[in-house]
């Protein structure tokens, strides 16, 4: 893909809120853009480096709680969370990496899965700090959705651009070589543990920043939202694999599809379907995982030719 189409798409996104003057659709696009950030960050780690994380909620939640606690405990603007949320996520990420990357095998996937649960339990039980299940509430800084829209858009673009540049640098080739053949990478003199850690930290940074943005935008978090296995960790994986693992724009496409699907079912297909459909949300997620893995293992972008053929265009 050349430079033309991404720039055209960016132009459309800049104009979007001025053309569609609807808070509802702007909200959906803000959320989708946030998922673009998280999905792209996950993709760097899992898609390009081959280390599948089942617990990106760890980093997302740390970012969100950083922003929230800055507000509730330190009394400073939660926007500082955008600067520090990513950093704290990196620190946690470094610890997770230190524990898991010394071993090969499914340890990393499991440790992230377990890590998500540990940190959720801590957030629920450490009530003096996090207020447990009561959650943290703050007043949004802006009434209009426009500032959030452009922050979200900026974050998404920044993440995609960073990942793009990283993958074109020396580091990118190291990451790919680790994914393709760890032994070969090691025999070429690549310190695989170190580069896996670097990939994890970059991924954690962007995810944490997105988490802090979520806190600022939504104004409310509790452990069951931001540390949720289904709604954050699995959603992240879905965003990336529906769009296309290890493709530059795959997670971006996936984010819009997934937010669309989520909203479609949350609103029970615009209220047309019976009410139980809105509760079938998690079921749809599960079915989608099964369907995507079986029939579209490389996602919409990766399997685009296959999909196009299906609709009769070669």
């Amino acid at each position: 893909m050349g430079y033309l189409r991404p720039i055209l798409a960016l132009g459309l996104f800049v104009l979007f809120p001025f053309i569609i003057r609807s808070d509802y659709y702007t909200h959906l696009v803000i959320i989708a853009l946030m998922w673009v950030t998280v999905g792209t960050a996950w993709n760097l780690l899992a898609g390009y480096t081959g280390q599948v994380s089942f617990g990106h909620a760890i980093f997302f939640g740390i970012g969100a709680y950083t922003a929230g606690l800055f507000h509730s405990k330190l009394g400073i603007s939660p926007w500082w969370g955008m600067a520090f949320g990513g950093l704290f996520a990196v620190i946690i990420g470094a610890f997770v990496g230190w524990v898991c990357f010394r071993l090969r095998g499914p340890y990393f996937a499991l440790a992230t899965l377990a890590g998500g649960e540990i940190i959720r339990l801590i957030a629920v039980n450490w009530e003096s700090l996090t207020r447990g299940m009561v959650g943290i509430l703050l007043m949004p800084s802006f009434k209009s959705k426009l500032p959030y829209y452009f922050i979200s858009l900026f974050l998404a673009c920044l993440t995609i651009l960073c990942v793009l540049l990283i993958m074109r640098s020396k580091y990118g080739y190291y990451f790919l070589s680790i994914r393709e053949d760890q032994d070969a990478a090691e025999s070429m003199g690549i310190d695989t543990t170190k580069y896996k850690n670097i990939s994890l930290m970059i991924s954690a940074f962007f995810t944490g920043t997105a988490g802090a943005f979520y806190m600022n935008y939504m104004g409310f978090i509790d452990p069951s939202i931001v540390f949720s296995l289904h709604y954050i960790s699995i959603m992240t994986i879905l965003v990336a694999i529906v769009g296309g693992v290890a493709t530059t724009y795959g997670p971006a496409v996936g984010a819009f599809i997934m937010v669309g699907v989520q909203e479609l079912f949350r609103s029970a297909i615009f209220g047309l379907a019976p009410k139980w459909v809105s509760q079938a949300h998690a079921l749809v997620f599960g079915l989608l995982v099964i369907f995507v893995i079986m029939f579209m293992a490389n996602g919409v972008v990766g399997d685009w030719k296959k999909i196009a053929r299906l609709f009769g265009r070669s």
């Binding site: 071993l103 996937a109 339990l121 998690a282 997620f285 099964i290 079986m294």
Partner: protein, 291 residues
């Protein structure tokens, strides 16, 4: 001191059941090389099956093993055959797509259970639920003792099966070296199906004997999946002896944690063990037991 002994003993009892759950997972891990993240959810299916049989047909929960075991065995084989095996042929960049698939399966099972039974907590009331067995000053919950002995029985049965029968040997051979096993004339894909069925059947037994002790709700699968993989990591991937030790250790640790730290962190004990294992004993107990 009495409190301590009481805590340890009840930890061992529940640990026996955990061992059974961990064994199923470690068998699957050994043969297929993947962690089955729908393991606890399969247990939940067995529990609901027992619940229905008890509530509507008045069948004693312990006799339900004869229903739940074969039922889950068949379900396990079907999942392996139609959902997991086809993935081997699919070209994909992600190495973990079978694991991801099990997450999807687990979610679907949980949500189906939620549709049928709603999210409400249920439990069964057996006449012996409140009975206690006394050994000296230590009182033991009767259903828990029964659960422990059934778990031990099935564990022994499994070892007999793995060590003495041809199919058991085939499973062990496949776990050691798939290609070599294939060259020796073992139908490895059949063995894989069978192993998944066997793992599911073991967890079905665990679910059935846990029902008189536990309450039941659709989301109960998740925590047990996590317990199972903590046991698998602690025991060492694919190690059956390790899984038994791991199960008992987890049981004792949870029990101690609940008594001396806080009930709220009971679930977190397993994760602490998990992290400590990865840091201090990577490779798990297998490195010590060698089997």
């Amino acid at each position: 001191m009495e409190v301590f002994i009481q805590t340890v003993v009840s930890g061992v009892l529940i640990g026996g059941v955990y061992a059974l759950i961990g064994l199923g997972m470690t068998l699957i891990m050994g043969v297929m090389g993947i962690i089955n993240l729908a393991h606890g959810q399969l247990m939940m299916v067995a529990m609901y099956l027992t619940f229905v049989l008890f509530t509507y047909f008045k069948i004693d929960p312990y006799f339900c093993i004869f229903v739940t075991m074969p039922a889950l065995f068949v379900i396990g084989i079907l999942i392996q055959k139609y959902l997991l095996n086809p993935l081997i042929k699919i070209e994909s960049i992600l190495p973990e797509n079978q694991v991801l698939m099990t997450v999807g399966i687990g979610t679907v099972i949980t949500e189906i259970a939620r549709f049928i039974f709603t999210s409400n907590y249920v439990s069964i009331k057996t006449p012996y639920a409140a009975k206690a067995v006394f050994i000296g000053n230590i009182s033991l919950n009767f259903p828990m003792c029964v659960a422990f002995f059934i778990a031990v029985f099935f564990t022994l049965l499994l070892f007999w099966f793995l060590l003495k029968t041809d199919i058991g040997r085939a499973i062990r051979a496949t776990a050691q070296d798939r290609e070599a096993a294939l060259l020796m004339g073992i139908d490895t894909s059949k063995v894989t199906n069978l192993t998944f069925g066997l793992g599911s059947a073991l967890v079905a037994v665990a679910g059935t004997i846990l029902l008189p002790i536990y309450y039941l709700f659709p989301d109960i699968g998740g925590p047990f999946t996590l317990k199972a993989f903590v046991i698998t990591i602690l025991g060492g991937l694919g190690s059956t002896v390790g899984a038994i030790l791991g199960g008992v250790i987890l049981g004792i640790a949870e029990s101690l944690g609940a008594t001396y730290v806080s009930m709220g962190y009971r679930e977190a004990v397993g994760f602490v063990i998990f992290v400590l294992t990865l840091i201090f004993l990577p490779g798990g107990l297998k490195r010590i037991t060698k089997i």
